[in-house]
Symmetry: C2
Subunit: 452 residues, 2 copies
């Protein structure tokens, strides 16, 4: 581990805030452990729990952070006898205490009865939690819920160190997309472009924040296949983000023409998505409700599709009835932070304000965030248009659309399977700042990057 | 999933062999599932259990293979309602049956009482195994041990399809190392070289077979830090391997001078390791005991170190007493197959022939393999020399070495921290074939690749 990445002041301030929110009660946050890939000695790369990372700053495997009033301590496993041989000299206790900004104690001394915790995502850590606390941790007990709410309140609003981490991730994410555009050639395969993009991330000593989507089948929303050949007439959709060295996520999508030039039909749809993204970003400001940002994008998409003759009717009514969702089935974005869908391990408790719940309407039901925005929140803004067979053939949705969807007109856009344009946006006092603004997205600019 | 990668004939033949070995009893092999990285929706890339992959050929997540006499079936989870939207159209049942070569049934119909299985490495799959079988699966019951032995007997000796997979992995691994040598420049960081190497693997739609080691601190055997700057006088040790699209591992190490030219002291140690590797590879042939291959390498290293004045005494005696292990603390290699340490999930049951057990002597105790070689086995051959502080300062080992280690002479080689040279070797009827022979390793050839 590179102790130089530590930000002890930020971590200490976050712990103090949490302690204040918790009052008398004690919290234990578990770092987790790398799951095995093939066998115990061949694990996946370790990724510490984001809750742990937020309050500690560095990924100590199997460690536990204890917070109880002013008494904070990091419980660590001592190095195994062979560790110096296989893993190199361990940093000194003093160096770790300086990097973390709180005392370090041996894990064996951890006694957790009566503490609150957040259920780990991996069963092995869950079992260690239950052993330490002497009770089940899933479903959460009442103390756990108070802890969850306190952590959410802090992690929702990014401090300076967090914003610096998001900027670092954004910079690498932009570089990855530029590398992907430059590596695109008809006849190559998707995984060739993906390799160029991920190399730009690895070069910066970072990892991807999530499984990369690099596909000429953008209509498959979470497409993790990368074997297709890039056809000269295809659009390539790349949803790739870097994770900064401190664990902060970037999450960006661009869609570009493999040939370096959009066809007229591709360009027409592209401009509709771009306009929807611009209008949604313009709606991001303190006090705005995120569902309204989603609806602004939806409205712009409906308007654009009406102008192209693909939808018929009043855009407001089309959105209210969810007709636009046949071509834009997902939400316009989500929270961004140490997780790409920040705090999704806590379910809608993080993404939805108290008293709000997911809609049951197709499309809106996939919206992951519905809070009022405040300065310091980071969100993605990622409208798209897709021709998904399973949706377009769905009898219920076909009835909802009726003749308001002109299928003959849509068929003229058959060389558009999926387009998405996504940026990372920080809510500021003045409105918003696009953290990934350095990456071109105007059609002509994108074309120039591909052909460069 | 790319069903085009299927090899139904090979998988069918392997299943038939296993059924024959099992006689009346029934075996269930579980594919496992991708563990979550941040939260359930953000998993690590799925990697199926190697046992499952061996007999099925394709990585169906959460699937279970059942083998009982001639009755083979693959139990699959049906797609979720939203899957067509998020993950694209699922392949048809017919297409899956053709790709796998056996009937497919819904996972819900799996009844596992009385069957044998191999304990999954992840607790979530372990829990599903215990639910299906109605009993604990760890530690293994007697039926599980018979299944383990039957699987080991098959997987030890690679069939044609397996060898083709190892060759595919070897080709990509060689390309990765060439890319790494070409990307090396003083002043760059380790992760820059690592990015170039992994990009060559990703470009081929493959993944790394294990966590890459790319380090100027080769004396840390499992060094997964990549942040050091490459100094002009440093050696860079890269232990990087590709995993073929079907899951077969490559595992290669090269050590090269950052400047493109070995110093005289680096070159002297390098030649000793290269000679040891050549002699160990020459010892690989049907009937040879792998521990003797390890001892051949050890003897060559001891001889070379005596010639350089670093060790004193009779090489045979130095090896018998383990004095060479102060500079060569690990084993000369291991089984190679679907896992980089093949079947290490089964412990020494796979690597050690019945009746053989690990030595307790420092160095030899780390030897992962002690079987008599037969045609079709694949092993790595990877001797090395390291100056590890924790070893050189160990009082017990210092007593073992006494004045047979000339520390003043060793100090003259202080610009060598760690050198390892590793290739993948297939045991053939005629002796052996180096699968990764296309990658240069003579000192002058390596220098030429770095400076190219």
């Amino acid at each position: 581990m590179d102790l130089d990445l530590a930000l002890p002041d930020a971590a200490r301030a976050r712990r103090a805030e949490l302690a204040r929110a918790l009052g008398e009660s004690r919290a234990l946050l578990f770092a987790g452990a790398a799951p095995p890939r093939n066998y115990a000695g061949a694990p996946y790369p370790f990724r510490a729990s984001s809750h742990f990372l937020y309050f500690v700053g560095l990924p100590f495997e199997r460690a536990v952070l204890s917070i109880e009033g002013d008494d904070h301590a990091l419980y660590l496993e001592p190095p195994a006898p062979d560790d110096a041989l296989w893993h190199g000299p361990a940093p000194s206790l003093d160096a770790i205490e300086a990097a973390v900004g709180c005392p370090v104690r041996p894990l064996a001394e951890l006694a957790g009865a009566g503490a609150a915790t957040l259920a780990a995502i991996d069963p092995a850590t869950r079992a260690r939690q239950e052993a330490a606390l002497g009770r089940p941790v899933d479903p959460p007990s009442r103390g756990d819920e108070a802890l969850a709410d306190a952590v959410i309140a802090l992690r929702l609003v990014h401090d300076e160190a967090a914003i610096a981490g998001l900027r670092e991730a954004a910079e690498a994410t932009v570089a990855a997309h530029l590398a992907g555009m430059a590596a695109t050639r008809p006849g190559r395969r998707e995984h060739h472009v993906r390799a160029a993009m991920e190399a730009a991330i690895l070069e910066r000593a970072m990892s991807t924040a999530y499984g990369s989507i690099v596909t000429v089948h953008g209509e498959v929303l979470h497409n993790h296949a990368h074997h297709h050949v890039l056809g000269a007439g295809d659009l390539l959709l790349a949803d790739v983000g870097a994770e900064s060295r401190g664990g902060w996520a970037g999450d960006v999508t661009r869609t570009w023409p493999v040939s370096g030039a959009f066809s007229p039909t591709q360009r027409a749809f592209y401009e509709v998505v771009l306009d929807a993204q611009a209008r949604a970003i313009a709606a991001v400001r303190p006090g705005a409700r995120y569902r309204d940002v989603h609806l602004a994008a939806s409205h712009a998409l409906a308007e654009g599709l009406v102008a192209l003759g693909v939808l018929r009717g009043d855009p407001e009514e089309l959105v209210a009835d969810g007709v636009h969702a046949l071509l834009f089935p997902h939400g316009v974005g989500h929270l961004l932070g140490l997780d790409v869908h920040d705090m999704e391990d806590l379910g809608d408790r993080a993404g939805y304000a108290p008293g709000r719940a997911r809609s049951t309407q197709f499309g809106l039901s996939y919206l992951r965030l519905d809070r009022d925005l405040v300065p310091g929140m980071a969100v993605t803004i990622e409208p798209g248009l897709y021709q998904v067979d399973a949706i377009l053939r769905d009898p219920h949705l076909a009835r909802v659309a009726g003749d308001r969807l002109d299928r003959a007109a849509l068929a003229r856009f058959s060389d558009v399977r999926g387009i998405r344009i996504e940026d990372d946006v920080l809510v500021t006092d003045a409105g918003s700042e696009v953290l990934t603004a350095a990456l071109p997205k105007a059609a002509a600019d994108v074309e120039a990057c591909v052909s460069a």
